[in-house]
Chain length 401, copies 2
């Protein structure tokens, strides 16, 4: 294994009724004024928001709730939430939702504790993380982003259409209350987007730079492959029946493990597919999970020859393909096909047009690739380092009907 | 999955030279006076103790070192270390060693912060955990106990020959510095004892009560099985060459993961084999890892019919046995044999006499079983709940030459 650091201080409380622990957890942190962030109507309609807020108030905590967080969470709402958090003198930011709400809460926790900093220009773009941050708590309602235990948050600047992530251990939530039943009422598309996102958090770590130094990563590879098999099997069940507690609970826990870094320790993160997807979400506001499945197939096909053995291993260990009589490249191609067909079986897009954004023009593809290099400032990935031409080739390959 | 809580706040720094971070980590915790605990001569002879202490002093920290922690760590030394920690006004307990030193550090961290409590009578026996505890840091030199990230510590009362554990999240170390090279000079027997201990932390969680409620535990089972395969393969290499960085690093990280609870989440801990082994260590002062392999075979044989399917799964997933044409019971028996033969291949005992304690008398066996019930106060385990007669039967079965 290569050297690594690992720090996951989030207290996870998992199971039916977990959300009822919010007040106790807030008080254990010494907090008394809670800004409750949530997304759309479902938290209101289901009664969850009311239940949580009255529970907190019964526990003696003051609450102020703010909704309206959208997928690909907007910087404009972050600014507004920071303003309200400061005005309310919040000492805890509680996210009720999935990745978008949690990522918003993370940004608010930084912004509200540092009113002199602009959370976008001073923090997100400069990767500057101040020491003082408000604690974040989570009541999870979507299994996907893994943000409930991760060090990561991704925001979209709705003026510039830029989507940017920040990684810092300081913003890992203090507690995550995870009740699989809260995910039962999700629309099928959100469940399947989540399945793709969880798989991709693992795959974007699995594709390490080829091991010419002879460094292997046995235990991490085993954990990643086991997690992928679990998500694939339970994803099939969840896509049919989002009220299956067994399947939804496996997905929920796998979602956390796939993005708290466990599945990549001792390796080198790639994350090309996430970067390719982020630009699609930023330009066309497509769902995050869908943006990933829409480019994975092309990314994989373009990168197969970087290390055919790695794709072959994916085929054998995760998809259960029979390696007999096949070259590594042949088995790798079968692994790519198996992944593509799995996404299709979930009705997830595997091309750009399937995202519902039409066939893109050459100008649009070039704009995507240019943006993905942060306007010429970076290359992308580690498994194979991708320059602008490579990124363009991948977007082009994904642009077929 | 069943409900669970998971809290692993230990900051892990893993890789060559990790021990050099001790000063920085201590200062990040706001500590300035370090009680350094270690075991025998190896930490002195290798120069590690000197290097660590001078590094800490260079970083401006005051140090007081205390050695002599023995395997199956003694309560008497814990009392002495608590006295010295209080006298030195230590605000951090730094363990340099493996499970025995870390467990001692955990007990000292409780005792030194609570001079009015007797750490054995008031804390260990009553399972009372005070709020105030000194922070514990670890420089790991033995891959085995997993105590560097676990919530557990086991002490032996050298007056009464009782061995008792305490589990509490409060005593999880604040940081663990894990450099696989520090394990290179271990005697082969300590390496192989570690391999058994790591496997058993996972197996003692893997054997869950039979699932008549239909609750499965997919992701946790996958993680456990992947971890076991890794440990088995790398254990073989490590037993041949303890200077193989690749193998020693896999064992080191697997050791932490096998006992931080990850491999049991959503399940019910059994831990019968640990309890059976603890009494052997308490009465005969045999090495912990050896005490486990010496009874596992008999425990498994006695418990096979509780859930043959579980043993069969172990055989297929972990040992790679071919299930074709076999009943679950037959495959389960093969899994038990494969485990036994693996322990034998590491020259680890699989019977009581192989521990070097001779063939025990019926009185001794009865004494062991009686002690294992805490003198009639408890039954043991969850996979199959074992009463005194069951425990006696297992010890008897293990008593053959």
């Amino acid at each position: 294994m290569r050297s690594f650091e690992f720090y996951t201080p989030t207290r996870v409380i998992f199971g039916r009724g977990a959300e009822e622990q919010a007040g106790a957890q807030a008080k254990a942190l010494g907090c008394s004024r809670v800004l409750v962030l949530y997304g759309g109507h479902s938290a209101v309609k289901s009664g969850l928001l009311d239940r949580v807020v009255s529970g907190l108030e019964r526990d003696g905590l003051a609450c102020h709730a703010l909704g309206g967080v959208q997928p690909n969470p907007r910087l404009s709402l972050v600014y507004e939430a920071i303003r309200q958090a400061i005005e309310f003198q919040a000492d805890l930011i509680l996210a009720i939702g999935g990745g978008s709400v949690i990522d918003t809460a993370k940004a608010v926790s930084i912004g509200a504790a540092n009113p002199d900093l602009d959370v976008w220009k001073d923090v997100w773009l400069k990767k500057f993380v101040p020491e003082k941050i408000l604690p974040v708590g989570v009541i999870l309602t979507i299994s996907a982003a893994g943000s409930e235990t991760s060090d990561s948050a991704v925001l979209t600047n709705d003026e510039t259409h830029e989507k940017r992530g920040l990684n810092t251990d300081r913003q890992r939530p203090k507690f995550a209350l995870m009740n699989p039943e809260l995910t039962f009422t999700l629309p099928r598309f959100q469940v399947t987007c989540g399945v793709v996102d969880i798989m991709m958090h693992t795959l974007d770590r699995y594709f390490n730079p080829p091991k010419d130094d002879g460094v292997a990563n046995n235990v991490t590879d085993e954990l990643a492959e086991g997690l992928l098999r679990t998500v694939i099997a339970n994803g099939r069940v969840a896509a049919r029946d989002s009220h299956d507690y067994q399947a939804m609970s496996e997905l929920m826990w796998a979602g956390s493990l796939s993005h708290n870094n466990l599945t990549g320790l001792g390796g080198v993160k790639d994350f090309s597919v996430h970067q390719l997807g982020h630009e699609l979400s930023a330009m066309f506001d497509v769902a995050h999970g869908a943006s990933l499945s829409a480019v994975w197939d092309s990314w994989a096909t373009c990168c197969l020859d970087t290390d055919p053995a790695r794709f072959a291993r994916l085929g054998e260990k995760v998809w259960g393909l029979n390696p007999e009589g096949k070259s590594e490249r042949e088995l790798g191609l079968e692994a790519i096909a198996a992944t593509r067909e799995y996404f299709r079986s979930l009705d997830m897009p595997v091309t750009l047009p399937e995202l519902g954004i039409g066939v893109l023009t050459e100008e649009q593809l070039e704009e995507l690739a240019w943006r993905c290099t942060f306007y010429g400032k970076r290359k992308v990935g580690a498994f194979r380092v991708l320059d602008r031409d490579d990124l363009l080739a991948i977007y082009r390959m994904a642009n077929h009907t």
